[in-house]
């Protein structure tokens, strides 16, 4: 198994365990209650907290694109990563394994695509950068000059670009996630009351 496949397997297992854990906790909190936790007042509150946490992820792309000095906002990137994991986990606790209505189910699916593509993309990207830097150091140690090193690394860099597909999924799917989430929230308020 290559380093990349091992990392993808670890990410896949971690995501599966996290989803299962959130749904098991929701089922545990529903024991002996007339309605599932997800449909209780506390469940709705968890949904609002999850939404608020999830919305924090948007500070990073906004800071990255808007501002006087367009330096990479490292701290907001960390917030982006943390909120991008914690927010969806809270939303999973809010939803439970009750997937009946299509609108919230589609919103959940869109959130899963955005979150998982973010985790996979970041994992693969970090791995590729680390491998590239290690190889660059090795080539320098072998006495190659800068042009020769770049020529050697060109193929590796091109391969890394192939993994950039995740970025074409991660950012644009956010639009669909936002639209579906707004529809779900409006629908819940319209039918369930304020």
């Amino acid at each position: 198994m290559t380093v990349l496949s091992r990392r993808l397997v670890i990410i896949g297992l971690s995501v599966t365990v996290a989803v299962a854990a959130a749904w098991v906790v929701e089922a545990f909190l529903s024991i002996g209650k007339p309605s599932p936790f997800a449909h209780s007042r506390q469940g709705h509150l968890t949904g609002w907290v999850g939404l608020g946490t999830t919305l924090l992820v948007f500070v990073y792309p906004i800071k990255k694109r808007i501002g006087q000095n367009r330096r990479w906002p490292r701290h907001w990137f960390r917030v982006h990563l943390m909120a991008g994991v914690m927010g969806p986990l809270l939303i999973l606790l809010h939803s439970g394994a009750h997937l009946h209505a299509l609108v919230p189910s589609l919103a959940l699916a869109a959130m899963a695509v955005v979150a998982v593509s973010g985790i996979v993309g970041q994992g693969v990207h970090y791995l590729a950068l680390r491998t590239l830097n290690d190889r660059r150091r090795q080539l320098h140690d072998q006495g190659l000059n800068a042009d020769e090193v770049e020529a050697h690394l060109h193929r590796m860099a091109a391969q890394e670009e192939a993994f950039r597909l995740w970025q074409s999924i991660h950012a644009p799917m956010t639009l669909m996630f936002l639209v579906l989430t707004v529809l779900h929230v409006l629908g819940a308020i319209y039918f369930g009351g304020l």
């Binding site: 007339p34 309605s35 449909h39 990479w72 990137f77 009750h98 009946h100 209505a101 299509l102 609108v103 589609l106 670009e161 950039r164 970025q167 074409s168 950012a171 644009p172 799917m173 639009l175 669909m176 639209v179 579906l180 529809l183 629908g187 308020i189 319209y190 039918f191 369930g192 009351g193 304020l194």
Partner: protein, 192 residues
């Protein structure tokens, strides 16, 4: 960290896909609102209701004013014992809401009354009799705690007749000592 810009076609493609999705959701919501918005199927008691607004009021949720359009005083008087009718009328008079005790969208076989006495026969009895309510076969005593009496009507006679092949006809309470809930008690096979 440096990322390349997205391909130009990605954003327009996702925007078009989102617009198509929203149009489909609007069409689906018109055709089958429960499938698109409800958190679960309605119970067997309300399965004939197809319009959300029969029970829900916009931005207020399920309201008592909608419930009493069907569950009127006259209907209570017709279908329940006087003490139940009086209990519900007093409850409404005190400005309580129906949803403080009754839930919905929990599935066709769900119990929709919180803290109510559990049906000792399980949902099996509804499948056998084709009924949806305890009062189809029982009359409840006005005094709290007394066991309900069994009526002598078509549903009851039908259940007795169904049991006459495998078992000797007897009191239905005897049938449901074994055929309670979803399985045959004492059997490892879990016969339904």
């Amino acid at each position: 960290m440096y990322y390349l810009p997205l391909p130009r076609t990605v954003i327009p493609a996702v925007m078009i896909a989102t617009v198509v999705l929203v149009i489909w959701l609007a069409w689906g919501s018109w055709q089958d609102p429960e499938r698109f918005w409800a958190p679960g199927h309605l119970s067997r008691y309300h399965a004939d209701i197809s319009r959300c607004m029969s029970c829900h009021e916009a931005f207020r949720g399920p309201v008592t004013a909608k419930c009493v359009q069907c569950h009127s005083v006259a209907r209570f008087a017709e279908r329940t014992m006087p003490s139940a009718a009086a209990f519900h009328q007093e409850f409404i008079r005190q400005q309580h809401t129906c949803v403080s005790c009754h839930t919905e969208h929990r599935g066709a076989l769900a119990h929709i009354t919180s803290h109510a006495a559990k049906n000792p026969h399980g949902d099996f009895v509804f499948a056998v009799t084709g009924t949806t309510s305890c009062t189809a076969c029982h009359v409840f005593e006005p005094a709290f705690g007394l066991p309900p009496a069994v009526l002598d009507n078509d549903q009851v006679r039908s259940v007795r007749a169904k049991g006459s092949g495998a078992h000797r006809p007897g009191h239905m309470a005897h049938c449901f000592q074994c055929h309670g809930g979803e399985f045959l008690k004492g059997s490892n096979a879990g016969i339904k």
